[in-house]
C-alpha cells in the first residue's frame, strides 16, 4: 500500500528532494506512474489550489509546490507514462486579451490548470479575438480563459466572446475570465460563463464548468 498521504503532504510543503525520493520509493514498490501522478501529485495540487483560494497559501509557496511536482514528472514519471494513460480533465485555451500585455496572473492560472490535469494551451498576451477563435477550433477546446488587467482592455473580452459566437463556437466552449478590474458582474454582463479572482478558484471553476 503506497503512502499517498505522505506524497501529498510533501508536495504541499514544496520539498522537492523529499518528494523525488518518495516518488522513487513508490515506483520501486511497483506503484504505477499514473497512480503516483493522480493520487499523489494531482491530489496534492488540488489541496494547494484550495489553500490558495482560502489565502492559506501564497504565490511563492504555490510555485514551490509546482516546481517540486514538475521535477517528479520530468525526472521520474514522464518516461513511464504511456500515451493515453492520463486523460485530460479538459482542453483549455488561455491568453491575455488584445492590447494588454499583463501575463503574470494568467500564467499562474495556466500553470495551476495544468497541474490539475487540464491540457493547457497558453497563447501569451496581446491576443487578437481571431487568434482565440482559430486556436479553439484547432485544439477543439472545452474552455476559453481570458485575462485583462486594464479597464481599457476589458471590453476586448466581450469582443472576443462575440467573435467566438460568430464563428459558431460558443456552444462548444465555456468562457472564464479574470484580472484585477474584472468582476462577477462584468462576467455576467458580457455573457461569460464564470469569473475567478485567483488561480485557486480558477481551478475549482474550471472543474465545475466541465460538469455543466
Amino acid at each position: 500500500m503506497a503512502d499517498f498521504q505522505n506524497i501529498i503532504d510533501t508536495l504541499i510543503e514544496g520539498d522537492q528532494e523529499k518528494l523525488l525520493s518518495l516518488a522513487q520509493s513508490a515506483l520501486d514498490e511497483g506503484i504505477s506512474a499514473k497512480e503516483i501522478l493522480e493520487k499523489g501529485l494531482m491530489a496534492g495540487m488540488d489541496i494547494v489550489g484550495e489553500k490558495m483560494e482560502a489565502e492559506d497559501m501564497f504565490i511563492p509557496e504555490v510555485l514551490m509546490c509546482a516546481r517540486a511536482m514538475t521535477a517528479v514528472i520530468n525526472n521520474l514519471l514522464k518516461p513511464l507514462l504511456a500515451a493515453g494513460d492520463v486523460s485530460a480533465a479538459g482542453k483549455v485555451i488561455i491568453g491575455t486579451v488584445k492590447g494588454d500585455l499583463h501575463d503574470i496572473g494568467k500564467n499562474l492560472v495556466a500553470m495551476m490548470l495544468e497541474s490539475a490535469g487540464f491540457e493547457v494551451y497558453n497563447l501569451g498576451a496581446d491576443i487578437l479575438p481571431d487568434k482565440y477563435v482559430e486556436e479553439i477550433k484547432d485544439k477543439n477546446a472545452d474552455i476559453l480563459c481570458m485575462s485583462a488587467l486594464l479597464t481599457t482592455t476589458m471590453p476586448m473580452m466581450k469582443v472576443t466572446i462575440d467573435a467566438v459566437s460568430e464563428a459558431g463556437l460558443r456552444d462548444q466552449v465555456k468562457v472564464m475570465i479574470g484580472g484585477a478590474p474584472v468582476s462577477q458582474d462584468f462576467a455576467e454582463q458580457i455573457g461569460a460563463d464564470g469569473y475567478a479572482s485567483d488561480a485557486g478558484s480558477a481551478i475549482r471553476l474550471a472543474k465545475e464548468i466541465m460538469k455543466r
Binding site: 501564497f58 504565490i59 500585455l101 499583463h102 503574470i104
Partner: protein
C-alpha cells in the same frame, strides 16, 4: 523634495465610482481635501472605469476637485481626446499619466504632449511587455527621454516609471527595481523616477508592510516621487522618516512636526 501623487480618485475604486454615479460632490470634496492635508503634491484623477462615461466623469471630477484643492492635478487617461479636454480645464501645470513605448499608446500620446507645459509619467513598457531585467529598463528609459525631449518636454518634467513587478513570482524583482531607479537617476541626470508600489506585494499577505518597506529602499536608490494613498498614515510616516534618515530634513523639523501632529504613527 519627494513628490506624493495621491492615487485615491480612481473610478475603479468602488466608493469613488458610487460617488461619481450618484453625483456625490461632498464625497469627492472631502476626499481630496484630506489628501491635500495629508501631504499630497498632486491629486491623480482617473475616470476610466465606467466604460463609455470617461469623458463626462473626468469633466465632472476635475470641476469639483479644482474648486476644492490648491495643489495641481495628475491627469490619468490613455485617451488624448480626454486629456486635451482635461488639460484645458486645469489651472495649474498638471502631470500627465501616462505615455509608454507601446506603439499605439506612443503614437496617440506624443502628438498630444508636443508643446504642452506639463510633467509626464513615462512607463518603461513596450510592445514586448514588461521589462525583463535592469538593462531593459535603462534602455527603455533612455528611449522615452529621447523621444520626449524631441517633442520639447524637458528632462526635469519627465517622471520615469520603471514598472514594479511582483516579488512573489520572482524574488529578484525587488533588487531589479532598486537597481533600475538608481541606474535611471545616474544615467539620465535631471530626470525623475516615480512608481506605484503595490505591484511589489501582489500575491503575498500583509501587503502594506511590504509596500512601505520597499518605498524606503527605493527612496534610498533615488526614487523622488510615488503614486500612493496619502491617507495611509503608515506609508506617509515611513516616507517622512526615510526623508529624515536620508538627511533631507534639516534639524529633523518635519519629522518632529509630524510626530506632534499625530502624523507619524507606527
Amino acid at each position: 523634495m519627494f513628490i506624493v501623487v495621491g492615487e485615491r480618485i480612481n473610478t475603479s475604486r468602488k466608493k469613488v465610482q458610487e460617488a461619481v454615479a450618484n453625483k456625490d460632490i461632498q464625497y469627492i470634496k472631502d476626499d481630496v481635501t484630506r489628501q491635500q492635508a495629508a501631504g499630497a503634491h498632486y491629486i491623480d484623477v482617473n475616470a476610466g472605469a465606467r466604460i463609455g462615461h470617461e469623458k463626462e466623469d473626468m469633466e465632472w471630477l476635475l470641476k469639483i476637485i479644482q474648486e476644492t484643492v490648491t495643489i495641481p492635478l495628475c491627469l490619468d487617461s490613455p485617451d488624448p481626446e480626454i486629456l486635451e479636454m482635461a488639460y484645458g480645464m486645469v489651472k495649474d501645470r498638471p502631470m500627465i499619466n501616462s505615455i509608454s513605448l507601446e506603439k499605439e499608446r506612443y503614437e496617440a500620446m506624443a502628438p498630444f504632449l508636443k508643446g504642452k507645459d506639463c510633467n509626464v509619467v513615462a512607463l518603461c513598457m513596450d510592445d514586448t511587455g514588461m521589462p525583463k531585467n535592469f538593462e531593459d529598463v535603462i534602455e527603455r528609459a533612455k528611449r522615452l527621454v529621447k523621444g520626449l525631449e524631441d517633442i520639447a518636454i524637458d528632462r526635469e518634467s519627465i517622471f520615469i516609471d520603471p514598472l514594479i513587478q511582483p516579488i512573489s513570482v520572482d524574488t529578484s524583482k525587488g533588487i531589479m527595481a532598486i537597481d533600475s531607479v538608481s541606474g535611471i537617476m545616474k544615467e539620465l541626470p535631471g530626470v525623475h523616477t516615480i512608481c506605484g508600489l503595490s505591484n511589489i506585494s501582489y500575491g503575498l499577505p500583509q501587503r502594506k508592510i511590504i509596500n512601505r518597506t520597499f518605498l524606503s529602499l527605493l527612496m534610498y536608490a533615488g526614487l523622488d516621487a510615488a503614486i500612493i494613498d496619502p491617507l495611509d498614515d503608515k506609508i506617509m510616516a515611513a516616507l517622512k522618516t526615510t526623508e529624515m534618515l536620508m538627511g533631507n530634513d534639516d534639524y529633523c523639523v518635519k519629522y518632529l512636526k509630524g510626530v506632534r501632529a499625530g502624523q507619524i504613527v507606527f
